[in-house]
């Protein structure tokens, strides 16, 4: 496939401890957070889920439609995001059974690796995109998998809309449910700081002035430049100066939500409105606070990037991470949740690179 974006530098090798990784995400990034966490739980010590549902939620009700692809999309919309009542939402017990079978099939790491992990799970009480009852099911899902109560921090008392929360004055008001899905929380703490501190324990205070830099790397080598991956030409990583100078580090994977990739432009009347709407997608990897706290704690923050595609083969117009199967080669037997998923393989390969491999 001919390159339409200029080639960027490759992702560098660092000395990351690949047994101390963590991951967090918003919305589709949160669904993918759970998938990545379970797929490679031997690498992760914890996860942060902001407005996301449980593992393989989109496969809750196969009978929703005779056509598998339709069923999974309908499930994702109407069971995993907007159930009219909680009882019409995802079923934690059923999905735990599915996860256990998936592990027995060797498609993901053994679930015993989750036993000591730390989970931060958040739902805004004003979230009108992913219902709070769905996120409560995510908590229940992890409880049933054996995560101790003290390791699981569930926050549901903030009147926030569907967003990651910051202290930036430019960001949306707290209760808003619209792009860029970055909302302002009154106070002095970024939500990303709470996530990383809950996962990793007490950390050095965030930097007031960054010592490192945001790297752009060519992401295409990690997914073979296949269109179905819905991943962008470029990915990003924040690297503290100490890490670039050779210090060992940990890696935190920060997964943006739908419509938050660096090159996302909204669709107007069915057409990408690139003539009028500049992409705002670099906000997620520059203004959400991850870099500031990573800088003082020798954490590399990896920001993989997804992008939208809506054609005869792939329906992902909003640039979401795959949590319902759009990237799978066989729609009737999707693999989006496993180690073999094209997006999970790509992110895993990025982590391996950061670990020096």
């Amino acid at each position: 496939m001919p390159l339409t974006s200029p080639l960027a530098a490759p992702l560098p090798r660092f000395k990351a401890d690949l047994t101390q990784c963590s991951v967090s995400g918003l919305s589709s990034g949160a669904f993918m957070t759970v998938q990545l966490h379970l797929a490679h739980s031997s690498m992760f010590v914890g996860a942060g889920v902001i407005a996301g549902g449980p593992y393989r939620c989109a496969e809750s009700f196969r009978a929703a439609s005779p056509i598998a692809e339709d069923a999974y999309v309908q499930n994702s919309l109407f069971i995993c995001m907007n159930p009219l009542i909680p009882q019409a939402g995802p079923n934690a017990e059923r999905l735990v059974a599915v996860a256990q079978q998936t592990a027995r099939d060797g498609l993901i790491d053994p679930l015993r690796h989750l036993a000591n992990d730390r989970l931060y799970i958040f739902t805004g009480s004003e979230d009108a995109v992913v219902d709070s009852s769905v996120v409560q099911t995510t908590r229940r899902f992890y409880e049933l998998l054996g995560v101790p109560p003290d390791n699981l921090r569930f926050v549901d008392d903030v009147p926030a809309g569907h967003a990651i929360l910051t202290t930036n004055l430019e960001d949306n008001p707290l209760g808003v449910n619209q792009p860029p899905y970055i909302n302002r929380l009154p106070g002095t703490r970024m939500q990303s700081w709470d996530i990383l501190e809950h996962i990793h324990g007490p950390l050095n205070p965030p930097a007031e002035r960054l010592s490192g830099r945001v790297l752009r790397f060519d992401q295409r080598e990690f997914f073979g430049d296949e269109r179905r991956a819905c991943m962008s030409a470029y990915g990003y990583a924040y690297v503290p100066k100490a890490v670039e100078d050779g210090e060992r580090c940990r890696v935190h994977v920060a997964l943006h939500g739908c419509k938050q990739g660096y090159n996302y432009v909204d669709v107007v009347n069915g057409r990408v409105d690139s003539a009028n709407n500049p992409p705002y997608g670099n906000r997620y990897f520059t203004t959400t606070g991850y870099n500031e706290i990573a800088d003082t704690n020798q954490i590399v923050v990896l920001y993989p990037q997804a992008e939208g595609l809506d054609d005869g083969d792939t329906q992902n117009p909003e640039g979401c991470w795959d949590w319902w199967g759009y990237s799978s080669t066989d729609a009737s037997q999707p693999d989006y949740y496993s180690q073999q998923a094209i997006q999970i393989r790509a992110i895993h390969a990025m982590l391996q690179r950061l670990g020096g491999h």
């Binding site: 309908q74 919309l77 109407f78 995109v129 619209q178």
Partner: protein, 172 residues
Amino acid sequence: MRNTRGLMMDAVGARPEDLPRAQWHLVQTALPHPEHPKRAPLPLMPAARALSVQSLMTHLATRQSARAMQAVALLPALLDPRTAAEGLSFATALWQQWQSLQAQWLEGVSELAEEMGEIRHVNTVSKFADQEADLMQQSMALVTAQATATIRLVENLQVNVDWWLSQRATPA
């Protein structure tokens, strides 16, 4: 205007205060506004035309929801107090969603009315034509958004009820 496209990021969660807030906004658009002295009151023609479309959708949604409730009635073996209570919750949730659809419509009409009421200066015919075309497109977008949101709600209800009944029939 809240826009519903039947896509992943539609903000379709309903709140009890949606409709009262929107109704008050509509009342305000029909009255002179001290901060916008040149804004005209609410025009009636676009609202009247679009209401006919909404009425059609109302009938469709009612039929579908009636079908869903009939499905519940056809399963007497599953009708225990808990199931009945959850069925009532469905009806309540559906009603709240419907109220929010009304609110979405009123908010859109109010915003359109405010837009139409603005008396803007134009120096060229092309700018005037562009402004009038914009208003037409906004009117159409409002109707489309409302229709899409209604269809989405119908689908939502169908999948939810089917899934809910499926879980009752085959407990985990």
